[in-house]
Symmetry: C2
C-alpha cells in the first residue's frame, strides 16, 4: 500500500510526481496547468469576495462526506454568504507522513467533484508533508474568490428591527453525525452530515429581487452562536421561536444522550437568511423549491432590543437567553 | 503563562476574544474589520495573480525571522514572481493546544509588520485549534491576490535560447541557517536566513522596460531544482556557471559539514531572473542598486539543448548535470 513520504513535500521529483499524477489529473483546468508560483486569472468585473478556511475535521471520512468535500463546500458557502458568485478556489494540504495515497486520492477526487458541482475552478495549490505525529492524517486549507453582483449589500451588519429570520432546513445534522461517528453510534443510517453546497440555493434567492439583508451559514457554534454574532454586528435583538426551528428526531435524541444542544451544533449545508418582513413568504417559497431548502422555515424576528442578544421563545411559552457559548463545544468539527 | 486552549478554536466566546484582542489589534484595516464569512474588496482592474502556501517550518523562530514573517514573505514573493503587485493576503492558523499566547502574539506582530512593509492588507483569516500532539506548535496558510499590470507576460515557460540567467544574491542562506539552528550550530552570528520581501526589487526591475521573461524564487529544492523546473516548462537547456554563483563562505563550510549542496538548499529572499541577453547588464545594474540585490550576478545562459536539463560548468572547467533531486532533501524548511 503506497504511502505519503517526506519526499512528497520536498519540492523535488516526488513532489512533482504527486502534483502531476494526482492533483493535475483530478483538478485539471487551464489556469491550474500554468505551473507557476502564482496562477494568473482573467480580470473579474466587480467587487470580489474572499474567504479562507482550514479544515481539521476528525474523522476525515464521515457519514455524508469527507474532509475534501467539506473543504470545498465550506469555502464556496462562505463566498455565497456575501452574495458572491464563487469562481476560484486554492487548495493547500498539510499531510502526515505515512498517510495512504489511496485515501488522498479519494479526498482529491471528492474535492474535484464538489468543485465541478459548485462551478468553481481549483486554480493553484500547495502540499506540505510533516513527520508522523506532527499532524492528524491531513489538514486542508481552501481559499476562495468570488464576484459580487453590482448593487448587492449583504452582511451581518444589515439586520433591522422587524426583519424576519429564516433557516434553510434542519439544524445540528453535521455536528451530531460527526459525534455519532466518533462515539461509534452509527446505528442510524438516516443521520448523515448535511455537508453540501449552498451557492445554487442562494442564486435562486437572489434572482427574485427580495430585500435580503443577511446570509450566514451557522457552522462552528451552530445557529445560536451565529445569531449572537449577527445581533452584535447589527446592534439588534433577535427573538427565535423554538417551535419553528426544524430539528430531526435523531439529532434531538442523540443530543440528549450526548448532552448537546442542537442550537449550538455545527451545520455545513444550512443558511440563515434575514429579509425584510414583506419579502419573507416569497423568499421562503423560493427556498422550499430548491433541493437544499425543502425544509426551510421562518424561525424568528429582529427586535429593537435587547441589543446584541438572542432570546429563545420556548415551546412551552417561556423565554430564555441563548448565550454566546463559553468553552470548547465540539472540537475539530470542521 | 497563558496558553491556547481548544476553546480558542470553537467559534464561541474564546474564539471571538482571540480575534478581537489579537488579530484585529495587529492586522487592523477597513476590509478585515467587516467581520463577515467572506471579506469584500473593491474591483481590481486587470488580471489577478493568486498564490497559496502553507508554512510548517521547524523551528518556528529562527535566525533572521519566524514562521509569521516567512508566511507573509513567501506569498508576497510568489505573487511578485508573476509580475503582480501584491494587494491582499488571507491568513489561516492551525494551532496546537497549549501553544503560548505570547509566542502567538510575537508571530502575529511579525506578520503585521511584514505585511505593512510589503504594502499588502491582511483581509480575512481563520483559526483552528487541534489537540496537543496533532500539530507541531503551529502551521500557517497564507493566500495572496495581486494585480498584474497590462502587457506583462512573465512565467516559467518563456525562457528562450540565448537568454541570460541572473540571481539576486547568495544562495542557500535560509536552509543552512535553519539546519544550523536545528543542529545547535549557532556559533556563526553572520549566518541568518535571507527571509525577506522581493516585491520592491521586482518593482524596480519592471520599471525599466527590459524584456524580463521569467521570475522565480528558488525556495524548496533551491536553485538547482527551480532551474530544472524552468528548463522543463520552457523546453530548453540551462547552462549554469558554478564560479559565478554567489555563495557565502559559512554556507559552503556548513554545507560540507552537513553534507548539503548549496545548489539544492532553500532560499527565502532570492529571485532567479531570466532576461533577453541584450538587457542583462541593465537589469543587473538595477538589481545591484536595491538592498535585496546588492550581490546579484549573471550566472547562466539558456541553451537550445539538451531540453529540460540543467548543466553546471564547474570552476575547474568540467561539466555535470544538475539533476532534479530525488528523496527528501531538507524537510520542513518552509
Amino acid at each position: 500500500m503506497e504511502r505519503i513520504t517526506m519526499a512528497h513535500g520536498s519540492g523535488g521529483r516526488a513532489s512533482h510526481q504527486l502534483i502531476h499524477d494526482l492533483f493535475y489529473k483530478y483538478f485539471q483546468n487551464d489556469i491550474l496547468s500554468q505551473g507557476n508560483d502564482a496562477s494568473v486569472v482573467p480580470n473579474i468585473p466587480g467587487r470580489l469576495a474572499v474567504s479562507t478556511d482550514s479544515f481539521v475535521i476528525h474523522p476525515i471520512f464521515f457519514p455524508g462526506g469527507d474532509i475534501g468535500k467539506l473543504a470545498v463546500c465550506g469555502t464556496v458557502n462562505d463566498l455565497a454568504m456575501s452574495g458572491a458568485r464563487p469562481l476560484y478556489i486554492t487548495v493547500a494540504f498539510i499531510i502526515e507522513e505515512g498517510f495512504l495515497l489511496k485515501d488522498l486520492e479519494k479526498i482529491v477526487s471528492s474535492m474535484s467533484q464538489t468543485a465541478k458541482e459548485a462551478g468553481v475552478k481549483i486554480i493553484t495549490g500547495d502540499t506540505k508533508v510533516v513527520e508522523s505525529g506532527s499532524a492528524d492524517h491531513l489538514y486542508i486549507n481552501t481559499t476562495g474568490i468570488g464576484m459580487i453582483p453590482e448593487g448587492l449589500q449583504i452582511g451581518g451588519q444589515y439586520a433591522r428591527p422587524g426583519d424576519k429570520v429564516l433557516i434553510s432546513g434542519t439544524i445540528g445534522d453535521h455536528g451530531t453525525a460527526i459525534m455519532a461517528k466518533r462515539k461509534g453510534f452509527e446505528f442510524s443510517l438516516d443521520l448523515v452530515s448535511d455537508c453540501g453546497l449552498l451557492n445554487g440555493l442562494i442564486d435562486q434567492m437572489l434572482s427574485i429581487k427580495a430585500t435580503i439583508k443577511v446570509l450566514r451559514d451557522p457552522t462552528r457554534g451552530g445557529l445560536a452562536t451565529t445569531l449572537n454574532e449577527i445581533a452584535i454586528q447589527s446592534g439588534v435583538g433577535i427573538l427565535l421561536e423554538e417551535g419553528s426551528v426544524p430539528i430531526k428526531q435523531e439529532v434531538r435524541s442523540l443530543g440528549e444522550i450526548l448532552g448537546l444542544d442542537p442550537m449550538y451544533i455545527a451545520n455545513e449545508g444550512k443558511v440563515i437568511v434575514i429579509v425584510d418582513a414583506k419579502d419573507a413568504e416569497q423568499v421562503l417559497k423560493v427556498m422550499k423549491r430548491h433541493p437544499m431548502g425543502t425544509e426551510a422555515a421562518v424561525v424568528g424576528t429582529i427586535m429593537d432590543a435587547p441589543k446584541g442578544q438572542v432570546y429563545l421563545k420556548t415551546e412551552i411559552g417561556g423565554t430564555r437567553i441563548l448565550h454566546m457559548p463559553v468553552g470548547e463545544l465540539l472540537p475539530r468539527i470542521c
